[in-house]
């Protein structure tokens, strides 16, 4: 990219979307102080700046390394967002703590009411686990939209959530599912609800010495229909808008509970469940669902981008709301 293009883009947009790829860069996070260097002018400088590489051997080791280096260090999980950012030298961590060899951090542990997923679990492992996809059809349906097969072989659920890209699918799904995140430092631990986790673009509630060590997903109630949909310019690109809908039905097929969240609309994933309150307690009619879409359109504040104006995003959010709620209802009713 030419310097002039870069500067123009930087002035015009809060976000920069690189190359149609899976990477959004927020302007205020680009520069360390005023002296932003444009290393990408030189072909040979498209590579990471120097850093110290530490391969953590176990979770305690990783946490103690992070405690030692704090904000200067980044955890390296799948690296599918971090490494490109480093290749552009937009991120220059002094220390990389590679957690890929900590096998305990990967894995899916189902129990009666919840499923716990290790942060190092790769998208591909989630896709291959048929029981997991049956239990969480929302995630199963979203996974094929997450980048491409090669990226899904490396990218991890914990890396994705900690990266907190507002255009990414999993943060929105975590909101819809009511996920909880177990985070740890070398000495302390706490749980964070998904609704408190995503603070702003690429920013979470995680403190510099904390690490997301487990994701807890509550099993959907019986008679719950789920639907994930997104509109992207090409399959695998970031969504212009994506929607996750879950509807639990009562004995008379009336809507007992509904969850609705979006990705691609602004600074964080958006929980718009309250817009769907109007359908709770009755069998959702086409008209009622249309009302929900209209409420969603007034609730959201899309940023717009070079690829889609804010008005277009608002329009798409309405269309997707209708489709996703209708599909979720039909699936809940028909039992799949």
């Amino acid at each position: 990219m030419l310097l002039s293009d870069f500067q123009i883009a930087k002035k015009r947009f809060d976000f920069l979307t690189w190359g149609g790829g899976r990477l959004i860069l927020r302007e205020r996070r680009l520069a360390h102080g005023a002296e932003l260097r444009f290393d990408c002018l030189h072909a040979s400088a498209m590579k990471p700046a120097a850093f110290k590489y530490k391969a953590a051997t176990c979770l305690e080791h990783a946490l103690s390394l992070k405690a030692e280096h704090g904000d200067d260090a980044k955890y390296l999980a799948g690296g599918q967002s971090l490494i490109p950012t480093m290749n552009f030298r937009l991120a220059r961590p002094a220390v990389l703590i590679d957690i890929n060899e900590i096998r305990d951090l990967a894995g899916i542990r189902p129990s009666a009411t919840t499923t716990r997923v290790g942060p190092l679990t790769r998208y591909r492992a989630l896709q291959r686990d048929a029981a997991f996809a049956r239990l969480f059809p929302l995630i199963g349906e979203a996974l094929p939209h997450i980048a491409h097969p090669q990226i899904r072989n490396r990218g991890t659920i914990g890396g994705n959530l900690s990266h907190a890209d507002p255009a990414s699918e999993l943060p929105a799904i975590a909101l819809a599912l009511g996920a909880r995140f177990h985070v740890r430092t070398a000495t302390q631990q706490r749980w964070i609800a998904a609704s408190d986790f995503f603070v702003s673009a690429l920013t979470t509630d995680l403190k510099p010495d904390e690490m997301l060590v487990e994701i807890e997903l509550p099993s959907p109630k019986p008679r719950t229909g789920c639907c994930f949909m997104e509109i992207a310019r090409r399959r695998g690109d970031f969504a212009i808008v994506g929607v996750a809908a879950m509807m639990t039905l009562g004995e008379q097929d009336e809507c007992a509970d509904v969850r609705l969240s979006f990705c691609g609309l602004g600074e964080t994933p958006v929980d718009a469940s309250s817009a769907a309150d109007v359908v709770v307690g009755s069998v959702p009619s086409e008209y009622a669902i249309r009302d929900v879409a209209a409420i969603v359109q007034t609730m959201i504040a899309p940023n717009g981008s070079v690829h889609a104006t804010a008005d277009y995003q608002r329009h798409i959010a309405g269309v997707l709301t209708e489709r996703a709620l209708q599909t979720a209802y039909a699936r809940g009713r028909d039992g799949h």
């Binding site: 190359g19 899976r22 990477l23 700046a49 850093f51 590489y53 097969p149 090669q150 072989n153 695998g236």
Partner: protein, 161 residues
């Protein structure tokens, strides 16, 4: 900052290599410059184009989105290892040739690594599945149609043994 070097051992196409690498060297550059296996091509260097796809323990990954030091004690497969010992083409290589699945050839190694692994896992893919599996590899010459034809033909040939 002092340069940060690591001694690594890894297997590439079944051959063991021991090298000293700087931590910031990408796996793609390591394969091309240190091991002089220049069949792995480098396009965008940020994970979009797929040209640098190699197999890490049998799974296609972007070698530009991995550090060489991360490949320590792992098995890498590159395009150089795709032909059999007699130098005979892999069925997909032959099919790409027969179906005119390449023009400039820059994307081809990445496509071959992606799709050979795909065919190992899905011996009888439909056209849609082939297109989905190809979605992470950009080709600016062919329009993909001939690549899809080649993959389907290779699948059929591999099934019939």
């Amino acid at each position: 900052m002092d340069t940060d070097f690591h001694d690594i051992t890894l297997s590439v196409n079944g051959k063991q290599y021991q090298r000293r690498v700087e931590s910031r060297v990408l796996l793609s550059d390591f394969i091309r410059h240190d091991l002089v296996l220049a069949g792995t091509h480098v396009g965008c260097e940020h994970g979009v184009c797929g040209a640098c796809t190699v197999l890490l323990d049998g799974e296609p990954v972007r070698s530009c989105l991995m550090l060489a030091v991360q490949a320590r004690n792992h098995e890498i497969s590159t395009i150089e290892g795709l032909t059999n010992k007699d130098g005979e083409y892999h069925p997909l290589q032959q099919a790409m040739h027969d179906h005119h699945g390449l023009q400039c050839g820059y994307c081809t190694p990445g496509i071959l690594m992606t799709m050979t692994a795909f065919l190992d896992e899905n011996p009888s893919p439909g056209e849609d599945e082939v297109r989905e599996a190809l979605s992470g590899n950009l080709c600016r010459c062919t329009g993909y149609q001939n690549i899809v034809d080649a993959v389907l033909a290779a699948a059929e040939r591999m099934r019939s043994g």
